[in-house]
């Protein structure tokens, strides 16, 4: 671990046990599917067998008559949703499209699109009832590939969708291209004309899924007083509340969302799928209703991330990258909203490149609507740029890391949007990679190769609220509203304990429901430890001020002569000192409860960089790529709890390895997802990844009192390219299409494709 320039702390940087840990290792923790309520019944969803069809009629009468069935639902039961955009933090949704995606109205746009729902005494009865629902479809031809969907003669998902651009409407005919965005700077023609070397490539990647182990779930209870309670696993209870309120036209004050423990999300548990269905089923049935997806439904109908097609041209002169031209098209799935813009805005961010033109296309296809997936949009665009950079480094006769260092962005470099970077740590990452034992060691043996790549992610700030209640025994309750998806109770409690100067074990963090704490945006954008952390530090300062005022009464000293220090209030001459616990014990007779709050819109977000090194071995006969060794270097700002920071990095790397080598949505021509199970959608197992070494570079973020940068997303950005670059070294062949599966390797190496 490399530490640059940061103060040492009492608690920040240590590795205590997470507060929710014991519950989670003993099976006591309650996840969404674990909710048990009196009178609870089960819901199931009928899904479209066609990838593209008009719904002509739905007959639910037989299903309704089935014994044990309490309610049947179709889109007719939904209020008409407004055609307007709602911000969800890291992604935005059109409410009409969100509503249509939850239960189709006039058209089904992918196989697995929800069409109707049943609530029954148990799941088996509900499944039997689904079979009795008659749906008449007019089947339409589907379009499944992004380039096919862009053709003028492609089947249209919507007859009323026109292409939008930054300057307004850009097409006079309906199109599957929902939007075109251009980023431009300098003069690419001149730079290409003057180049020493030019690389020109086309890349494709397939849709991949977040792959969280816990399927989506929702339990809703429509209460007799007209209020609604929802128990669900989500990355943001307030965002569920907002979406349900909009889709069902309910006031938010009538909805209480209780966040259960969440079994992974990676961006996929931000949009809602089940909550409005469970709600309306409950309203009709007069009982609480639970809906839990099965794995096939998760694959077919919840947001994967985009497949992509990227054309890239890049030039180098005297070891400097001088120009980039890119045309990138991302699949949005059934409704617009691919992360192609983020892909375009991040792909050049590790570097200082003067001349560029990037055209980004957001394209609808007859596949599930994509949702955020860890650094949405960035991994596939980095796959393209980092491959080209590797080739240019070679052409220029330079070491690939030295080449990246020479071209690196730093404080003041402008992003493609024109915004200059604050203090960033890409150069530090590349240097740490160069010095790492891994890069210093030779790679030997036949069919082996080493690859490197860098990546960038913005990270998010957004809104957070916390409250801190001081108990008379000197402990504190930290009431927060950020889903704890991988250790944030610990990282927030640590920041509170550090700022108040009290023991970590004296802080009890509670993830509260939407009735019990101020608004919090999603746990997404790698923002929780940063932004909710900022709120925690603010609330702690509020507590400090209250402690000083109480101490002034207890010590009989003017407030101006007192300060808060190391868990106590002390007088400026040091003669008087009263510890936190004593002030806490006296709160009842010094003015009442001591209770601190902070609510904020976080500013000062620090972007994150990573540089990865990977060694692979390729079996030319079977096509299998084995990952031999992996080192991930990352600027983490300040690692509050280094173990969980390492864990984020290791998890992102494993997902990236899966994306590079095995994972893909495999569609038949009729739009059937042929591999909608964990058996056929091959995520890495313990045997597919090696130990993953991490190097934490700490370049503190000036926008946070402890220097925190978000760490969760950037580790998935470099692996695709790093692995592909290593395979190219091992085989002498450039793979530009993912995944680099055994079949692809054999076909391309032996010219069978």
């Amino acid at each position: 671990m490399t530490t640059i320039d940061r103060p040492t702390y009492r608690i920040v940087g240590t590795r205590p046990i997470r507060p929710d840990g014991v519950e989670k290792v003993t099976g006591k923790a309650q996840y969404g599917a674990d909710v048990r309520l009196p009178n609870l019944i089960q819901g199931r969803i009928l899904r479209s067998p066609h990838a593209h069809a008009r719904i002509l009629s739905i007959d639910t009468s037989e299903a309704e008559k089935t014994p044990g069935v309490f309610a049947v639902l179709t889109h007719k039961d939904f209020p008409v949703a407004e055609d307007k955009i709602e911000e969800l933090g890291e992604s935005a949704v059109n409410l009409k499209e969100l509503s249509d995606n939850i239960l189709a109205s006039d058209k089904v746009l992918y196989k697995g699109h929800a069409v109707a729902a049943v609530a029954a005494i148990n799941g088996h009865v509900a499944e039997e009832a689904l079979k009795k629902i008659r749906v008449e479809y007019e089947v339409l031809p589907p379009v499944l590939d992004v380039r096919d969907a862009m053709r003028e003669d492609a089947p249209l998902l919507s007859e009323t969708r026109f292409t939008k651009s930054m300057s307004g409407q850009a097409s006079d005919k309906p199109s599957n291209i929902a939007a075109i965005t251009r980023f431009q700077g300098g003069n690419v023609e001149e730079a290409f004309a003057a180049a020493d070397h030019i690389v020109e490539r086309e890349f494709t990647t397939k849709m991949v899924h977040q792959g969280y182990i816990e399927p989506q779930n929702s339990t809703a209870s429509w209460n007799s007083d007209g209020t609604l309670t929802i128990w669900t696993s989500t990355q943001g209870a307030f965002v569920v509340r907002a979406q349900v309120a909009e889709v069902l036209r309910l006031p938010v004050s009538k909805i209480r969302v209780i966040p259960m423990e969440i079994g992974g999300g990676f961006g996929g548990k931000i949009p809602i799928y089940l909550d409005p269905v469970a709600t309306l089923l409950s309203k009709k049935a007069g009982r609480p209703v639970k809906l839990v997806m099965n794995r096939t439904e998760v694959f077919m109908a919840t947001g994967p991330t985009s497949g992509s097609s990227i054309k890239l041209k890049m030039a180098e002169k005297d070891g400097i990258i001088t120009a980039v031209q890119a045309e990138m098209a991302y699949e949005a799935g059934a409704y617009p909203g691919s992360p192609v813009g983020a892909g375009a805005m991040t792909m050049l961010s590790p570097y200082n490149i003067e001349n560029f033109v990037i055209d980004a296309y957001d394209v609808v296809v007859n596949k599930p609507k994509v949702s955020a997936y860890r650094a949405p949009g960035a991994p596939v665009s980095a796959f393209a740029t980092e491959t080209a950079i590797d080739e240019l480094a070679k052409a220029a006769g330079m070491d690939p890391l030295e080449f990246r260092l020479k071209n690196s962005a730093h404080e003041g470099t402008r992003m493609v949007t024109g915004v200059p970077f604050p203090r960033i740590g890409h150069e530090e990452c590349v240097r740490a990679a160069l010095e790492s034992p891994h890069y210093q060691s030779p790679i030997e043996g036949p069919n082996r190769g080493r690859g490197v790549a860098s990546g960038f992610w913005f990270n998010a700030g957004l809104q957070s609220s916390v409250s801190v209640a001081v108990n008379v025994d000197g402990t504190v309750n930290l009431i927060e509203g950020s889903t704890d998806i991988g250790g944030t109770r610990a990282s927030l409690a640590m920041q509170l304990a550090e700022t108040l100067g009290i023991p970590y074990d004296d802080v009890k963090p509670i993830v509260a429901d939407t009735d019990s704490v101020g608004h919090n945006d999603v746990t997404g954008g790698s923002r929780t430890t940063f932004a909710s952390g900022l709120a925690v530090v603010e609330a702690a300062k509020d507590i400090q001020a209250q402690m000083i005022s109480r101490a002034s009464k207890l010590l009989n000293a003017p407030e101006g002569e007192l300060r808060y220090e190391d868990g106590a209030v002390v007088s400026s001459d040091g003669s008087k000192r009263i510890p936190f616990a004593e002030i806490a014990a006296a709160q009842g007779r010094t003015g009442g409860p001591i209770y601190g709050n902070a609510s904020l819109m976080a500013r000062g977000v620090g972007g994150a960089y990573a540089t990865h090194i990977v060694d692979v071995e390729v079996d030319p006969d079977t096509g299998k790529v084995t990952v031999l060794r992996y080192t991930a270097v990352q600027d983490v700002g300040t690692a509050i709890h280094p173990s969980y920071v390492e864990g984020q990095i290791q998890g992102g790397v494993a997902q990236g390895i899966g994306w590079a080598l095995n994972e893909e949505y495999y569609y038949n021509e009729d739009g059937t997802l042929a591999n909608a199970s964990f058996l056929d959608y091959r995520m890495p197992t313990t045997l597919d990844v090696p130990a993953i070494d991490t190097v934490l570079v700490e370049v503190p973020n000036p926008g946070h009192p402890y220097g925190v940068r978000g760490v969760g997303e950037v580790p998935i950005v470099p692996p695709l390219a790093a692995v592909a670059n290593a395979v190219a070294e091992a085989t002498g062949h450039r793979f530009t299409d993912l995944p680099i599966s055994p079949r692809r390797v054999v076909e391309e190496l032996h010219g069978l494709a």
Binding site: K24, I213, G263, F678, T686
Partner: protein, 158 residues
């Protein structure tokens, strides 16, 4: 549907329940007996989140029928340790930060316990081989493997 009467030893306690022939052991544990520590990730034997011990052997409880537990001994995560007396694996998972979201954790701990019961000195490769039937999407497995090796070392010392 007619229900069958089943008698089993569940986490050391003789337990009787009624279940339909089509109900999996996972469904019985979670929905009929309220033992929700055993998780469901796929319902078809591919993720290991539902792992339990059936007469000491690891099985995916989603692929076992509830009626098959007749006369058997079933151990779930709830029977492996509790807050006052954590199993060394549970403690090692906490100390090594081997869980992020934690939904895969019960399955990993149950599965790893079966390994260490049979092979107390399993090495890294053996641990990785044994746990390949358990999917974790959060951790990249690094810290899980370390935690199992740490628990194995501690159990051998004890």
């Amino acid at each position: 549907m007619a229900r069958s009467h089943v008698t089993t030893t569940l986490n050391g306690v003789e337990t009787e329940y009624l279940c339909e022939p089509r109900q999996s052991l996972l469904e019985v544990l979670r929905d009929e007996l309220g033992l929700t520590g055993t998780k469901e990730g796929c319902s078809n034997g591919n993720c290991g989140a539902c792992a339990v011990l059936l007469d000491g052997r690891v099985v995916n409880s989603c692929c076992v029928l509830g009626v098959e537990a007749e006369g058997a001994e079933v151990t779930t995560i709830e029977g492996i340790g509790n807050a006052d007396k954590l199993h060394p694996l549970q403690r090692a998972f906490l100390e090594e930060a081997a869980l992020q979201c934690g939904v895969c954790t019960p399955g990993f701990i149950v599965s790893a316990k079966a390994l260490l019961d049979a092979e107390p000195d399993a090495d890294e490769h053996r641990v990785r081989w044994w746990l390949a039937g358990n999917l974790c999407r959060c951790t990249g497995y690094d810290k899980i493997v370390r935690a199992v090796l740490k628990a194995s070392a501690q159990m051998q010392e004890a």
